[in-house]
């Protein structure tokens, strides 16, 4: 501490003693050095000294309290502010990590929805469900057409079998005629034999001829009988085939009618199901697109994290300036005994200088009504 300062400090400590001394001296001089004057002077000096002692004690106490206060303020800056700053930075970092994780999850959802929307509604890449349905319809219709064609062939065959019946009748008629001819021939042969017998020797050769004719008529008769039997067998067989074919045709026709009805029923159900599927798929596609849009909007809103992070960083950096200012203040007090105020204005100016956003400046100016800024369309081209 400089000498002049020390001198002034010393002078300040003994102001009351000096005043008492001057007063006492004045009394002594004025009182002509009488005992009363001297005693009064001594009393004044003592009072002055006492007052000075008391004052010195008060000053010492005040100084100790001030030193303690300055030290505690310095400790606040040294020990407490770094902890606050660390909490602030930790909170900012945790928020950044959490929002980054959330953004990544949302981004994955958007990608999956994008893939889903790009996937065709059905397995076949070239044709829609409606076209598949039409193709199935055409194929089944061709199966039905084949069935109808087979039934038509059966009906033709049935008609042919019915025509065979007429031929059988004719054959039967012919067999009967052959038998009749054989009978008549036999009668003629008998008559010829009788006439041959009546002719005697001259009719012998005729009789032999008649005998041969009788043999031939016998053979013809047998042939006619066999023909009749065969025709009967064939007729029975054809009748059986005819009945079987008729039954088969009836069954096939019933089956074809039932198959056609079943196929149409199945196709109708298939059409209903595919239409429902297409409608559901279209609805799902629209919903997926809607969800994708909502998720992207949510992602855009997460931009708040970037702004909040910047603000918190500006505040933290400014807070970290305070401990050094408080330490300087303590050092100044220790050296000179005088208090050096912390320049809050400079600190605020530093903080304001770090701002990049309009809402930061608004809050600094005391406008706490300004909320988060809206999504901006502001673009400047250079």
């Amino acid at each position: 501490m400089p000498t002049s300062v020390q001198f002034l400090w010393l002078k300040g400590q003994f102001n009351s003693s000096l005043v008492g001394l001057v007063g006492g001296t004045g009394i002594v001089v004025a009182g002509g050095r009488g005992i009363v004057g001297v005693m009064a002077a001594a009393g004044l000096v003592c009072l002055g000294v006492l007052a000075d002692i008391r004052q010195a004690r008060r000053c010492s106490r005040s100084r100790d309290e001030t030193a303690s206060y300055v030290a505690s303020t310095e400790q606040l800056g040294r020990d407490v502010l770094p902890v606050w700053s660390a909490h602030l930075e930790s909170s900012r970092a945790q928020m950044e990590v959490a929002v980054a994780e959330l953004t990544q999850r949302f981004a994955a959802i958007v990608d999956r929805l994008d893939q889903t929307l790009k996937t065709p509604l059905h397995g076949n890449q070239e044709h829609g469900l409606a076209e598949i349905f039409e193709q199935s319809n055409r194929e089944l219709q061709s199966v039905l057409d084949s069935l109808h064609s087979a039934m038509e062939s059966n009906r033709d065959m049935h008609a042919e079998v019915q025509r065979l019946d007429r031929f059988i009748e004719e054959l039967q008629q012919m067999a009967t005629e052959v038998a009749h001819i054989a009978f008549q021939t036999n009668l003629l042969a008998i008559n010829a034999a009788i006439e041959a017998a009546h002719a005697g020797e001259n009719g012998r050769s005729f009789g032999v001829l008649a005998q041969e004719v009788r043999k031939l008529s016998g053979v013809s008769g047998e042939t006619g009988n066999r023909m009749s039997q065969k025709v009967k067998i064939i007729s029975e067989a054809i009748a059986a085939v005819h009945h079987a074919a008729a039954d088969s045709a009836k069954r096939e026709e019933s089956s074809a009618v039932a198959s056609e009805a079943a196929i149409h029923r199945v196709l109708d159900q298939f059409r209903t199901v595919t239409q429902g599927l297409e409608h559901s798929a279209e609805t799902l596609k629209q919903e997926s697109a809607g969800i994708q849009t909502e998720v992207v909007e949510a992602l855009v809103q997460l931009q708040f994290q970037d702004r909040v992070s910047q603000r918190m960083t500006h505040v933290r950096q400014n807070m970290e300036r305070l401990p050094s200012l408080l330490t300087e203040s303590l050092q100044a007090f220790d050296e000179s005994g005088s208090l050096k105020p912390v320049d809050a204005t400079a600190l605020l100016a530093e903080l304001e200088g770090s701002y990049v956003m309009a809402d930061e400046r608004a809050t600094h100016a005391g406008d706490n009504t300004a909320g988060a800024p809206a999504i901006s369309d502001e673009v400047t081209f250079f």
Binding site: L102, V296, F382
Partner: protein
């Protein structure tokens, strides 16, 4: 072949948001966390446009613009600043450094896409 855009920002979540918008429009995206990281990733890559924040650690956006413009391979690569900075002085710095556009955060994705489509190299 898809065009490639580089997004440079120290905020991972913001890079994600921009990437989603760009990929949805059919662009390939490369990410950088600050100016230094971006310069490392530029080497050898064909980049059709760069989107960069301004306030970043290690190397800020304005310095990145100057560094990119000094690279012969990327001299004509358009650079769009995407930033919370709202002061005209900073905008002028960006313009002087060689940036082509200045978009303020929080940004509107369709608006950013329109800027990209307007400026991206053919």
């Amino acid at each position: 072949m898809a065009k490639t855009i580089m997004i440079v920002d120290d905020s991972a979540s913001l890079r994600q948001v921009v990437s989603i918008s760009l990929r949805g429009a059919g662009y390939e995206v490369i990410e950088g966390c600050d100016g230094t990281d971006a310069l490392k990733k530029l080497t050898g890559q064909k980049i059709h446009l760069i989107i960069s924040d301004v306030n970043m650690p290690n190397m800020d956006g304005i310095s990145l613009v100057k560094a990119v413009k000094a690279m012969p391979a990327y001299k004509f690569t358009p650079i769009v600043m995407l930033t919370t900075e709202s002061q005209d002085a900073k905008k002028q710095e960006g313009q002087a450094a060689g940036a082509k556009a200045w978009v303020t955060k929080p940004f509107n994705p369709p608006q950013l896409l329109a800027v990209v489509q307007k400026l991206v190299l053919p």
